[in-house]
Amino acid sequence: MDFNLTEDRQMLSNTVRRYLADQYDFDTRYGVLDAAPFHSPAKWAELSELGLIGAFVPEQQGGFGGTGFDITTIFEELGRGLCPEPMLAALMSARAAADCGAAALVEELVTGGKRIALAVFEPDADSLALIRTSADKSGDHWVLNGRKSVVYGLPGADGVLVAARLDEGLGLFLVENPETVDYAMIDGGGAGELILDSATAICLSENAGDIIESALNAGRLALCAEAVGVMEVLVNMTVDYLKQRTQFGRPIASFQALQHRTVDMAIEMEQCRSITILAASKLGSDAEAKYIAMAKNLIGRAGTMIAEECIQLHGGIGMTWEYPGSHYAKRLMMIDHQLGDHYAQLHRVMAS
């Protein structure tokens, strides 16, 4: 048993943390929230140069990491820094591309030459079995028809990997220059609707069901780790605020009811950290789906509690745009909406 990060991962963690602290402050973040592509291509390039995307992909597939702990180490820091860069999309698409054996594409992604997104879900399709987007072969290329909804990191992407139905099973296709409707997300970052109206596509795999599910699981794990980073900031902010704010002539940290509620936040945060470590250790194993679903269920439940308590214990100030804590709280809440919420995960656990 060893719960310490390896030296390499500790370095990576420190690097990302230092970069975000120095180069991605809240003013930078506010500056990219409103206008497409809802992130900073310049910062994105710098983060790729730090090796983040390579760390998502195993060595034998052209990266230099790829384990569960590589993913959680990085995403915890992205959470701590509340970074709106489209790393989730990068993680999922790079892993899917790698699993399809698309070595050239992976290289472009790892070096930051290209940025792409992964489009799976549709307005009425929140699982692979329900996907209706269709792929048809037309001569030497493929044609896709359908609509993908809330595709993370779509705005400004160089391309998008699309899950589409074949006669049998699901295929994974690369669409370059996609037709999109972009928007900002309420918790930062951008997403979009992908309109596939006889879109020309390159096929990466004609049997990609497992590959896509595996990429989604990596994404879910990443979201859990991001949430843990966010939680740590929120708990610390709450403690600091209660110590500093006075009411009725004394710091409100001296009120026992508020103390106990903060303690419960801290305990849940530790539990979330634990289940995320557990899930990370299972990535790539047969039990991956079950443990990642467990983790994301707990993250969803505890995240709602921590975000709501953080706002409540801050009082009015926690309600304001100007206070960074409110943005951390929004992000934590909305993580539950990504890649299947706590209900969906609980159903997966119950079915496992």
Binding site: Y183, G315, Y343
Partner: protein, 395 residues
């Protein structure tokens, strides 16, 4: 025991419904359903229609233009307004300053100010909270120093709701630093366009602009703008806090929001079936519906006790706590119901084809975040628990 309304009360309800269906424009209803902000003109227009009917100043005695309703009529009116998605009445002039002037004001103040509240000439806002004094009003620091026939005011107020539309503000200010902190506070009326008054918007976490900071720099107001006695403003503040608060449980709003959620859960597809058929989600909806049914009766019980003169601060604190918990849970479930589609930022110019959810659900996440305020503003739920505890444990 009889939970039904009298025939007179039912007739009154029908009258309110008829009024609402005649007077509420489709645009107002649409905005209400969609949790969109109203313009100043829309709010003023709605006030004018209510005033024309004599239903605007619901808490005022008839001699000042109130409708002469009891607690039950007010409840019915509030409930029907909520169910019809009517705008909320802006309460600062009508439900706060009005009753204060009626109880503490001079005849001159009443004669001059009340009619202008009714006809919309003045839009009042509230200057209570300060950056260091939220729940703990007694520690407020904004000073008003007597100088000849004027007070000279310096300081800062915050959380001033809809201050951006107001031409007047009533404030609690410190006129003395002697004695207990509560003792040197006065209640004064200030023109927002007086020199030295500056308003700055506060953007809320979901992006909306409802509240403001108001800064006072050497603002002069005539001494006659004092309401009640100098240094006795605390009495007025307490009166307003313990003054029977109308519609504090918000049962009508929660009912309307829950109906919307239930409709939505039939429309949205999750795991290939309507969300309403997911037993876990359906169970949560059913639980909150049960809690709301109970609250409806708790509200009526307390209303009925109030009619008999027995309402207490504890009761309205209980209604506030449970009412906000239930409403926030409904809004949280509504946000959750949308799944991934809750995330798009609901800006006005989002293209139509970006939306994959019903129009009235597009602001679900924003509305959820915005309404975290319910358990914070107007006396946080922690303060309400303190009030009840004082009653339970005898101080």
């Amino acid at each position: 025991m009889d939970l039904s309304f009298t025939p007179e009360e039912e007739a009154f309800r029908a009258e309110v419904r008829a009024f609402l269906s005649e007077n509420l424009s489709p645009e107002l209803v649409r905005k209400g359903r969609n949790s969109e902000s109203l313009t100043k003109e829309e709010m003023e227009g709605w006030h004018a229609r209510l005033n024309a009917r004599g239903w605007l100043a619901v808490t005022w005695p008839t001699e000042y233009g109130g409708p002469g309703w009891g607690a039950v009529e007010r409840h019915i009116f509030d409930e029907e307004c909520a169910l019809a998605n009517a705008p909320r009445i802006v309460p600062f002039g009508l439900n706060m300053l009005g009753p204060v002037l009626i109880k503490f004001g001079t005849n001159k103040q009443r004669a001059e100010i009340l009619p202008r509240i009714l006809d919309g000439s003045d839009w009042w806002c509230q200057g209570y909270s300060e950056p260091g004094a939220g729940s703990d009003l007694a520690s407020l620091k904004t000073r008003a120093v007597r100088d000849g026939g004027d007070y000279v005011i310096n300081g800062q107020k915050t959380w001033t709701t809809l201050g951006q539309h107001a031409n007047k503000i009533f404030c609690l200010v410190r006129t003395s630093t002697e004695g207990k902190p509560q003792e040197g506070i006065s209640f004064v009326l200030v023109d927002m366009d007086a020199p030295g008054v500056e308003l700055r918007p506060i953007k809320l976490l979901e992006g909306g602009h409802e509240v403001n900071e108001v800064f006072f720099t050497d603002v002069r107001v005539p001494v006659e703008n004092l309401v009640g006695e100098e240094n006795k403003g605390w009495t007025i503040a307490k009166y307003l806090l313990t003054h029977e608060r109308t519609n504090i449980a918000g049962v009508g709003f929660s009912t309307r929001d829950l109906e919307k959620l239930k409709d939505l859960s039939q429309m949205l597809v999750r795991a290939g079936r309507p969300l309403a058929q997911d037993p876990l989600f359906a169970a949560e909806m059913a639980e909150v519906e049960i809690d709301l049914e109970a609250l409806r009766v708790t509200n009526l019980r307390m209303l009925s006790a109030a009619k008999e003169g027995a309402a207490s601060g504890t009761q309205s604190s209980m209604l506030k706590i449970k009412g906000t918990v239930i409403r926030q849970r409904v809004l949280s479930l509504t946000r959750t119901a949308l799944g991934a589609a809750a995330a798009p930022f609901p800006v006005e110019d989002l293209p139509e084809n970006a939306v994959t959810v019903p129009e009235d659900a597009r602001r679900a996440a924003a509305s959820y975040f915005n309404n975290r305020k319910l358990s914070i503003f107007g006396g946080s739920n922690e303060i309400q628990r303190n009030i009840i505890a004082k009653d339970l444990f005898g101080g």
